[in-house]
């Protein structure tokens, strides 16, 4: 089929042909069943795209992100917020002092699902570690303002954690006027190796951080790491998290999930739908944190993230 006919059919579909062109095309259609099939296929393409448009909804977190603009204030304009969260959470194998750099919106999920192999079978206790219920998240602040000044509470937290200034300290709380400046200050996409907005230089007694943006792929120093995991639950402008001990076979990486919390416990975790993701692998990763106690988080569904750091699973 030549380009002129292809374009003619496309324009016919949109009613873009002038009367003469339309008559000519209709004659051609009447004489050629193949052409009619082609037109029907193009109609299906349009319907499919319309269905796709209807199925895609902006994440609820966008409203919060745009909130200051909607209320007429640029002074507290939304931006790529930089939030330092200090955590001291006991896990089965020791104490992790980590700093979480969250420069991403609450309901946004990382781009890359890095699960590559199934996890070992086992009960919830195994997933949660032998220490029983993990300590509560220190970061639950349900009443927090929608757009707290970035870093307002961060320096004390960071000082308490004994951490040096991180690269995100210089980032503004809002969008810079200049696009390039925005880009330069912007955090990397979660899961992107080598991106900006990585973890502070010092993070953990275990020699690793569960911070966002570190691009950890689980391949480096796999043999000398102690497995650790963290579930983050993004609640509007707040974040809660719990550390847990993943199973040995858990695949390191960052896993975007949706989290259902009821009665202070994570009841269900499911992967964020990705057209090209391997759904079963990511589901297996999510099973790790089901049943994890996360007190202080109101019942509901949230965006979340499972970060697993530790030895790579056996290969081959």
């Amino acid at each position: 089929m030549n380009d002129a006919i292809t374009e003619g059919l496309s324009r016919l579909l949109d009613g873009d042909l002038d009367p003469g062109e339309a008559r000519e095309m209709e004659r051609a259609l009447a004489a050629d069943p193949g052409l009619r099939d082609e037109l029907a296929a193009l109609t299906r393409v349009r319907s499919a795209l319309q269905a796709l448009a209807a199925s895609e909804l902006a994440p609820p977190g966008l409203d919060a992100r745009i909130g200051p603009l909607r209320h007429g204030s640029e002074s507290s304009r939304p931006g790529r917020r930089v939030r330092w969260l200090a955590a001291a959470a006991a896990v089965a194998l020791g104490v992790t002092v980590g700093v979480q750099v969250l420069q991403r919106p609450p309901s946004v999920v990382p781009a890359v699902l890095t699960v590559q192999a199934p996890l070992a079978a086992g009960g919830e206790e195994d997933a949660l570690g032998s220490s029983g219920a993990p300590p509560p998240s220190p970061a639950v602040r349900p009443e927090a303002a929608p757009f707290p000044e970035a870093g307002a509470a961060s320096p004390p937290l960071r000082e308490r954690a004994g951490l040096p200034p991180g690269p995100a300290d210089e980032a503004p709380d809002g969008l810079a006027a200049d696009a390039d400046t925005q880009s330069a200050l912007a955090p990397s996409t979660m899961g992107e190796p080598g991106g900006r907005g990585g973890p502070p230089a010092a993070a953990s007694k275990l020699g690793r951080s569960l911070s966002a943006g570190d691009g950890y792929d689980g391949r480096s120093a796999a043999g000398d790491r102690v497995a650790a995991g963290r579930l983050l639950v993004f609640m509007g402008s707040d974040t809660a998290w719990q550390d847990f001990e993943p199973r040995a076979a858990s695949v390191p990486g960052r896993h975007a999930v949706r989290v259902r919390v009821a009665g202070g416990v994570v009841r269900q975790v499911w992967p964020v739908w990705k057209p090209l993701a391997a759904p079963f692998d990511s589901l297996q990763a999510s099973e790790l944190v089901v049943g994890l106690a996360i007190p202080g988080v109101p019942d509901g569904d949230y965006a979340g993230e499972v970060v697993i750091e530790g030895p790579s699973p056996p290969t081959g």
Partner: protein, 167 residues
């Protein structure tokens, strides 16, 4: 029109466009925020010479395109020659049904989204603005800053490419 009204009206379309052109949901989220900040800043100067939807999409497209340029990425698919349909067709997903995955609607949409993502950006944005968002040829031409004839030809090519998957 105040910003809140505008935001409510264009929140979904801008998100969808960003989603079509961004590499990830996360990136789309940030881009959406930046687009609406630009819209917010530009709204006082909007005098209605263009349709509001055209104006908003134009801001969105310009920002998304600039973002892509900064990233040094042109399109999802490396295309030796933009007009070489055969090269593109080979890179589109296999349209044959996968018996293991079934024919659930979500998966069908996933296939469409994946096929769309593999189109070169200049095809993808045209077919999305037309079929996904319902803009007219003239509106699309204004948004993209190209002649209407270019919109027609790109749209036809984009549909023909998608037809191999969806049709």
């Amino acid at each position: 029109m105040d910003f809140e009204e505008l935001y409510q009206r264009f929140r979904q379309p801008v998100w969808r466009l960003a989603r079509r052109l961004a590499g990830s949901e996360e990136e789309a989220f940030d881009l959406c925020q930046e687009i609406f900040l630009r819209v917010w800043r530009g709204l006082p100067g909007f005098r209605g010479e263009a349709q509001l939807s055209t104006w908003v999409f134009q801001i969105a497209w310009n920002h998304l395109r600039a973002h892509r340029k900064r990233q040094g990425r042109r399109g999802a698919v490396p295309v030796a020659a933009a007009g070489d349909a055969r090269v593109l067709l080979e890179q589109l997903p296999d349209p044959r049904p996968d018996p293991e995955r079934g024919a659930a609607a979500a998966e069908a949409l996933a296939l469409v989204a994946a096929a769309l993502a593999r189109l070169p950006e200049h095809f993808r944005v045209v077919v999305w603005l037309r079929d996904g968002e319902g803009l007219s040829y003239e509106q699309i031409a204004t948004v993209l800053g190209v002649p209407v004839g270019t919109v027609r030809s790109r749209l036809a090519r984009a549909r023909a490419l998608l037809r191999t998957v969806v049709g």
